[in-house]
Amino acid sequence: MKIAVAGKGGVGKTTIAGTLARTLARRGNEVLAFDADVNPMLGVSLGVGSERTEQLVAVRQALDEGEAEHQPTVEGMEQAFGAAGPDGVWLLVCSRIDRADPG
C-alpha cells in the first residue's frame, strides 16, 4: 500500500495522512509516514508533539549540512533519518524551509 495525500491548504491532508498511518499501524501494518511538505507538520498529526516535530531531522538539510550520508535504500533512509512515532509508525521528513535563501 503506497498512498499520497494531496489537496488545497487547510483541507486536512496532514490530519488524514497522520490518522491513516496510526490506524494502519494499530492493525499491525509496518507504516512509513513520509512528510514531503517543505513545511512539515505530519509529526503533529501523528501525535509526536509540536516541539518534537520542529526538532525532527529533515533529510535534505541533514545532507546539505554534511551531517549524514546519502542512503540508497528505504531501510537505510529509515535508520539514518527516521524517527519512531506512536503505534510504531516511522516518520521521515523530507525537507524543511526555515531560513532565507536555502539554495
Binding site: K8, G9, G10, V11, T14, D37, V38, N39, M41, V44, S45, S50, T53, E54, R96, I97, D98, R99, A100, D101, P102
Partner: protein
C-alpha cells in the same frame, strides 16, 4: 504600502489579501494585487474574473542564453498596463500564472516574467504611490526564494492551531531575515480572547490585528464570492478595514506601528 501576506494553507491569506486590496481601492488608492500562488484563490476573494491563461505568457521571450526574459520594451509599467486584469473598486491584479493540468512547465515563461517584474517594481518610481498587496502561496518557500522583494511589510496570517502557529513561526523567521522588513502576525478565526493570547504567547509578540471567526467568510467561500460583496457588514470586514487604517498610517520611514 508594500505588503506581502503569508501563512499556512487555509489560514485565510487570500481572504485577507483580496479584502484588503478592495478596501484600499474603495478609499481611492491605486492598488496592484500580486498573485504568485500557482493555485487559484485570490481572484475569488477579490470578486474578480480569473484570466483563462496566464496573461504574462505574452510578456516573455527566450534570450540568446535560452532563458526566458521580458520582451524588449516591456518593463514593470508596461507589464502592469498590458498584463494585469481588472478587479472591482479599481484594483488591478497581476498574476504569475495558474498551473494547468499538464504541469507548471507550460507556464514557465509567465513565472519568469512575473519574477522579473516584481524584482523591478519597488525601484520603479511610477509605482511610488501605489499600494502593492501580494498573496503568497502557503508556507515559507517563496519568501525564502525572494518572491516578495518589493515588500516592506510581511503579514503572517495565523489561526489558533498548533500547525498554523508552527508554520507562522517558521515563516516569521524566514521573512525576518531580510533587513528593513517589518514582520507582523495577523490572528485569524479568533473565537475567544484566549485564542489571540495563545497566538501571542507562542509567537512571543503582539498580533497586529485580530480577525474574528466569522461565518460570513465560510458562506462567501462556499459560493465563490468576495466577502466584501457578500457580507458588507460582517465583523471580519470591519476588522480588515481597521488593519487598512493601521497600514495606511504606517509610513515606511518610521518605526512600524504594527509591531510596537
Amino acid at each position: 504600502m508594500r505588503v506581502a501576506i503569508a501563512g499556512k494553507g487555509g489560514a485565510g491569506k487570500s481572504v485577507v489579501t483580496g479584502t484588503l486590496a478592495r478596501v484600499l481601492g474603495r478609499r481611492g488608492e491605486r492598488v496592484l494585487a500580486l498573485d504568485s500562488d500557482l493555485l487559484p484563490g485570490l481572484t475569488l476573494s477579490l470578486g474578480a474574473d480569473a484570466p483563462e491563461r496566464p496573461p504574462l505568457l505574452d510578456a516573455a521571450e527566450r534570450g540568446e542564453d535560452d532563458r526566458w526574459r521580458l520582451k524588449k520594451g516591456i518593463g514593470p509599467v508596461r507589464a502592469v498596463q498590458r498584463f494585469s486584469t481588472p478587479a472591482p473598486d479599481g484594483v488591478r491584479v497581476l498574476q504569475a500564472g495558474k498551473a494547468p493540468p499538464e504541469g507548471t512547465q507550460a507556464i514557465m515563461p509567465a513565472l519568469q516574467a512575473y519574477y522579473k517584474v516584481i524584482h523591478r517594481l519597488a525601484r520603479t518610481p511610477a509605482f511610488g504611490e501605489w499600494a502593492l498587496i501580494a498573496d503568497l502561496p502557503a508556507g515559507a518557500r517563496q519568501l525564502a526564494y525572494d518572491w516578495a522583494p518589493f515588500a516592506d511589510t510581511v503579514l503572517v496570517v495565523v489561526e489558533p492551531t498548533s500547525q498554523s502557529l508552527l508554520t507562522a513561526r517558521r515563516i516569521m523567521r524566514v521573512a525576518g531575515a531580510r533587513p528593513g522588513v517589518t514582520v507582523a502576525a495577523i490572528a485569524n478565526k479568533v473565537k475567544v480572547p484566549a485564542d489571540r493570547e495563545r497566538i501571542e504567547t507562542f509567537l512571543g509578540e503582539l498580533v497586529a490585528a485580530s480577525l474574528p471567526a466569522d461565518p460570513a467568510v465560510a458562506a462567501a467561500e462556499r459560493i465563490g464570492a468576495a466577502v466584501i460583496d457578500y457580507a458588507p457588514r460582517s465583523p471580519v470586514l470591519a476588522a480588515i478595514e481597521r488593519l487598512a487604517d493601521e497600514l495606511a498610517e504606517d509610513g515606511p520611514s518610521q518605526r512600524s506601528r504594527l509591531t510596537r
